[in-house]
Subunit: 453 residues, 2 copies
């Protein structure tokens, strides 16, 4: 497809899907078509994302477009692109718009926004998942090929699960957080939604890179974004999650575990760390990032967001250090785990709540949604959320493969195999998954060439 064809397809899909709540800002049709025409005239020039449409979660800066973080009263218009966005544009990608989110990326439901609630692509009575609700829906509805989200507690994975697409949660610090509205600065990362594991990884390859201006940036110890050859006998860990999940989720998870020959381990220390994110000190990190808004203009906040941010005000540092020490222990536990296993397979979310459930209880279902996702960044893991089937009532179920920091390339073949085993189409589009990457092994009529220098 050419850039113009991509642009026209994106506009058509958006019109057909007709969900205004995906967008906080959509580029005008004319601007999209103009840009596509320019790209087409220029030709690819070796750009890996030439003409590919994408959207950006509205807590990431795009020059000249307001950044709202889901809070109109907070909005500002940045003069420069976030480095991740700049790299995408330089790679030839076609910017379509900024997407809706749980305000300040605080939530996993996708309903905490004054810009409406993006529609779950499978069932309008279910939540879309958040906080990157609009970005995930834009991919799941086939409007764009990929989207930038963010992931602190699971915002880049839960909405992937509820949209039947892939969510790549990169290693914290691998992508610059400059130009990103902070949630919990120490554990925030930009994330990628895409149609397949390898397309997500290809996007991370474009946007990743050390940024000396970002105090939480880290240098990769090796080329972590190269897809590894498939492991001959992957050692995958699983957990007894049935008591924490809806039966249909537990059933799909069992099937996924069977497919990957997973062996049971104890994850109680990770589950304990997960609770620390909102019930421990890190909620105060959110409060710290927004204390000016909270102090001076609390009325501009979504009521639920305000409740959460206020809960961070009274926490005591003396308790925080207990949590930091617990987390340190959990990180050590993760080291032990990944010394013995290539990956940990978990359900992405224990259930998918309905909109009505969340209206009735704005905090409870949301908290439960983070059961399996909250600890990944705290414990310095990377991973993929991929669809692993549907409940009998059609609710999508997601599985999550986690590895240590910098394992994106190593996990890719495993995550891709899992994805392709349990999903044939992208989100709710009915379109088949993009073709798998070329096989690791040579065909009978091929010859290996090694080039040095």
């Amino acid at each position: 497809m050419t850039p113009m064809q991509h642009a026209e397809a994106a506009l058509a899909a958006d019109a057909a899907h007709a969900d205004a709540a995906i967008w906080i800002h959509r580029q005008p049709d004319a601007a999209i078509l103009d840009r596509a025409r320019t790209l087409e005239a220029e030709g690819p020039r070796g750009r890996p994302l030439w003409g590919i449409p994408f959207v950006v979660k509205d807590n990431i800066d795009v020059a000249g477009v307001p950044t709202t973080a889901g809070c109109p009263g907070y909005a500002y218009t940045p003069a420069v692109d976030a480095p991740a966005v700049r790299r995408l544009l330089e790679a030839g990608a076609l910017f379509i718009g900024k997407t809706n989110l749980d305000q300040f990326a605080t939530g996993l439901v996708g309903t905490r926004s004054p810009y409406g609630v993006p529609r779950n692509v499978f069932d309008p009575e279910l939540v879309p998942g958040g906080s990157s609700s609009g970005s995930a829906c834009a991919v799941a509805a086939g409007i764009v090929r990929f989207a930038l989200g963010t992931d602190t507690a699971g915002s880049g994975r839960v909405p992937a699960a509820f949209g039947g697409i892939v969510g790549l949660k990169p290693t914290v610090g691998s992508i610059s957080a400059t130009g990103l509205v902070p949630a919990c600065r120490s554990v925030d990362t930009i994330s990628v939604f895409a149609r397949s594991v390898d397309e997500a990884l290809a996007v991370q390859r474009v946007i990743a890179g050390f940024d000396g201006q970002d105090p939480y940036a880290r240098r990769p110890p090796y080329p972590h974004l190269r897809r590894s050859a498939a492991l001959p006998a992957p050692r995958v860990a699983m957990a007894d999650v049935a008591p924490l999940c809806e039966p249909a989720v537990a059933a799909a998870y069992r099937q996924a575990c069977g497919f990957l020959n997973a062996a049971p381990i104890d994850i109680s220390l990770f589950l304990e760390s997960a609770r620390l994110l909102y019930e421990g000190p890190w909620v105060a990190e959110r409060t710290a990032a927004l204390r000016d808004v909270l102090g001076r203009r609390p009325d501009v906040l979504h009521p639920t967001t305000r409740t959460i941010l206020e809960s961070g005000l009274d926490r005591r540092t003396v308790d925080a250090f207990d949590a930091f020490h617990t987390l340190r222990q959990a990180r050590r536990e993760a080291e032990h785990l990944f010394a013995r296993h290539d990956a940990l397979l978990l359900p992405t979310a224990p259930f998918c709540p309905s909109l009505a459930e969340v209206v009735a209880d704005p905090l409870g279902p949301n908290r439960r949604l983070g059961t399996f996702t909250n600890f990944a960044n705290l414990c310095d893991m990377a991973g993929y959320a991929v669809p692993i089937g549907f409940a009998p009532d059609g609710t999508p179920v997601g599985g999550m493969l986690l590895g240590p920091a910098w394992s994106e390339g190593r996990l890719a073949p495993l995550a891709d195999a899992l994805h392709r085993r349990f999903a044939a189409t992208v989100g709710a589009t009915g379109h088949p998954l993009p073709p798998p990457p070329p096989p690791d092994t040579l065909a009978a009529d091929e010859t290996a060439l090694f080039c040095i220098g």
Copy 2:
């Protein structure tokens, strides 16, 4: 010297020095001589510290001996040695006793203890420095060859400066903190006092090692305790510290900077981080470690320690995260610094207060003492404190060479050269420094042999 000769020399030196305040527990003479006799009968058996007398700061466990941390009401008797102590005993070292400290290692003066104040070996009217007061004095008085201390804010460096000896502040996490009473767990390290840089490094070589039971333990990325060859043209950074120091300290520091050809840099972000240790969240980490004592038996605490620990109770986590972000920036600044410089040279302490000053103001002079030391662990640095001369009135002045984590071996030749340039004798003993290690280059009649395998 044989173990028996070492033992007799230690007992004689202790008797001659006659400072009971060095000790919280001293092994009985008979026990020391018995152990020395056994060691002597066994022969060295390749043990690198065969018969060498040492002492242990009384916040580190020695099996069967009470650990008080300077607080009798807190004391317990451990059944097992801290790994660092176990390794020393296995290396043949001769345990002499447990030493006095600022209670719970909270202080840099050496006066906050119910066990008295160890006498400054140069001037009885000056503080000995702390918190590892007894350990530093035992080396400075020639009772033992080396001592274990600890260093969170500067406890392993300030008393080295005030005793005219070497204080090695290892990389946090390089030595197991199991069996160590926590001050600020995330930035505590066991430290070494010795007569020379290379003797200190040799001790660290014995006690260092990864401990999976210690959640803050780290694996060295390379053999960091091997003394490097001297750098042909070391690039040393210095700072304009005159406004922060007594004139005599500034003068000695200028001389040291001249000797190392140091070039000026801006250290304001490090100085800001330094203030965070007691004026920021980390004081609450101390409180967290001792909240049971503070809550149930506050009367067992030294009044000054109690005041400090109580100041950690009311700190808010929302403010802590601001400090964590500032620190992260300072760590990045340290990376930049050590990309351009081999080491940062600073005064160890800006002045040496008198006992009377500290009685008059228990908090102020102590706070000022940490000006240059407080940030090292927070910013993940390693380094050496070495004597760099005396003020005209005989007050000892110390210099500190700091490098990044895991730079102990790389800094050693530089720190040793600095030490030998400005000091001829060990502490107040009048004994010459131990001989320098063999030269890096070959003598005319030597041949290089490279053994592989």
